[in-house]
Symmetry: C2
Subunit: 399 residues, 2 copies
Amino acid sequence: MERVAVLGVGMVPVDEHWDRSMVDLAGEAALAAMTDAGMERVDALIVGNMTAAVGESGQLNLAAQIADWCGWRGLEAYKVEAACASGAAAFRAGIVTVASGQVDSVLVVGVEKMSQTESTLTTAALATAADADYEVPHGPSFVALNALIMRRYQHEYGWQHEDFAPFSVNAHANAARNPFARLRHTISVKEYSRARIVSDPINILDASPTGDGAAAIVLTRSGKVNGHANRPTVVVAASAVATDTIGIHSRREPLRLFAAERSAHTAYLQAGLRPDEMDFFELHDAFSIMAALSLEAAGMAEVGQGPRLAQEGAIRPDGSIPIATFGGLKARGHPVGATGVYQLVEVTRQLWGEAGDNQLSKARVGMAQSIGGTGATVVTHILRIKAKPASPSLRHSHA
Amino acid sequence: MERVAVLGVGMVPVDEHWDRSMVDLAGEAALAAMTDAGMERVDALIVGNMTAAVGESGQLNLAAQIADWCGWRGLEAYKVEAACASGAAAFRAGIVTVASGQVDSVLVVGVEKMSQTESTLTTAALATAADADYEVPHGPSFVALNALIMRRYQHEYGWQHEDFAPFSVNAHANAARNPFARLRHTISVKEYSRARIVSDPINILDASPTGDGAAAIVLTRSGKVNGHANRPTVVVAASAVATDTIGIHSRREPLRLFAAERSAHTAYLQAGLRPDEMDFFELHDAFSIMAALSLEAAGMAEVGQGPRLAQEGAIRPDGSIPIATFGGLKARGHPVGATGVYQLVEVTRQLWGEAGDNQLSKARVGMAQSIGGTGATVVTHILRIKAKPASPSLRHSHA
């Protein structure tokens, strides 16, 4: 996998972009990434998107439309969908396309336009990530399905609701320093505890805000990287997708994210690295319970002990395993099909040392994980700085 | 590309399958392909589907659901979408996934469930392939957009409506011998000419029927093929995607399928073959006008002369370039996101010599082309029988 490198990134702020279409947002992020890469054209465009066909956009065939908007007549283009993991799955498809050797470069764009004049359309669109035959007909929204998991988790492991506060507090603190974030204000534990309930026990500060957004990454064969002189080369050390039952009711252990465990485990094997060798982890904190379960699935916390890591401060920028370093889904915002690409843009910026006010002091290896549905499709990537050719005595120091 | 081979195929008949869900159909085709390949598990599943999220199914995250139905817990799985070319684009993604070397085998499944209790939902779902901002708001259905093209084509090149009859007559004649086809009855030129108008000049016998269907193909690295002793090895000689503007109004020459020209041209270059070296061509005859334009775009007819090839009988099974050899979209049926995979299953069966009553006398190289929208996304594949290791004097005969 280290044959594939990141050459450029771009994004638009996550927000309500009433003045721009979905294709405008995608095109803007795409051209920003191309400018960053110093390129005018790529060989292929792969788009990650979840809800464009439902709701008010009503648009499939979106990848062709984005290629046209960018002025790339004739370009190879198609869309990848894996619910909220669509952006990360598109990145996966981009990686194998470059690794196949058939093309030299691929642009991956994640885009979502979720602001609707009828907000019920957004709720309905998100429900398509759940089982349409056995979950949705019973009436739960996507938040309600996560609330079922959180309540059961609290019951099994004895955590109180306020024990989850550090996840949201950390996310907001980081987003406050990120100009691309949707919610750029800090919150206190007290505010968290008093926030309005959405679906008990999930309150508004447990839940990530949706939004309109687009993020883009240019991938190329690592031998071809020649971009910015001061940038270390960032390569793909691992790329792994795994799935689980789409319905929670079919899972043997509904409090364990089996697909997250499996895709993380596969990624570690590919990269030849252990969980404790990750410098940071952009996880899928769509809800605070998902942040806890993701840390456990990735082997960074014991089963049932995710919140302890948060309480001990390990997840903060100065902790042992920083998460949501630009605000995460919780506060950067969660434009669903775009989110996976935002995460990978953020990982790349950390590794390049170009994370601005969000820069971590140690960022040589970073992991991103995206979850489609309540754990049905999980995509894990590990990016790392490519070791430079070293003097003989040092050659194996970053092997 | 010849590193990738087809190891097994499976499908369900195209029909109205009111008794089975979309996932049932996909699973049935998937397991049929696995049985054909003599395998119990693959490394990844890539699903082609267009309309599952819209209409009555309301299901995204479909690939995870299909993996679960098949009993493949944990499997890598995601969906690819490119409107009516979704199945072919999924096949493209499957090819690069195998060619990347990261996995040994991929199962590609195209599936669509279009029978709805409200038929207007199907019309609305198909319209998502057109430009949601600049075409759909004016009210044309997807048939109407094709009717605009057909009318202009007749005007520019002087063809009468009945000149297109051989396309539909040939498709129905071939479908009559195909147990997987939706419309298994022959039609006459007179029946064609008298058929009910859908959107002038397109009548019901110019238009392909939608339907419920699923088709599946197992891909593997060609060195690993060990299947049926009597089967020649079928490899991917070319795989190419190209795009054009999504709206017809933006095209410089609306009667030429630029993306089809480009993807076919790229495919010929990859395969090192000329158009006249194709033994047959499974083209995207969603409407008879599209069959004519596809023949022209693929370099098999002069611009404006597609119908002549049909009138001369070249498109029939005994002609110089047989098309729709199992009935094509017109009569096998067009379950949109599944169609591209049906075409590739059919090409494979011809090359294996397992096409039954539809077997062509000469089938060593076959091409399939799938069109998303009115020409926005076009996917072209060339499959061929892999030359066996020959005696030294013959070694270059099938290079």
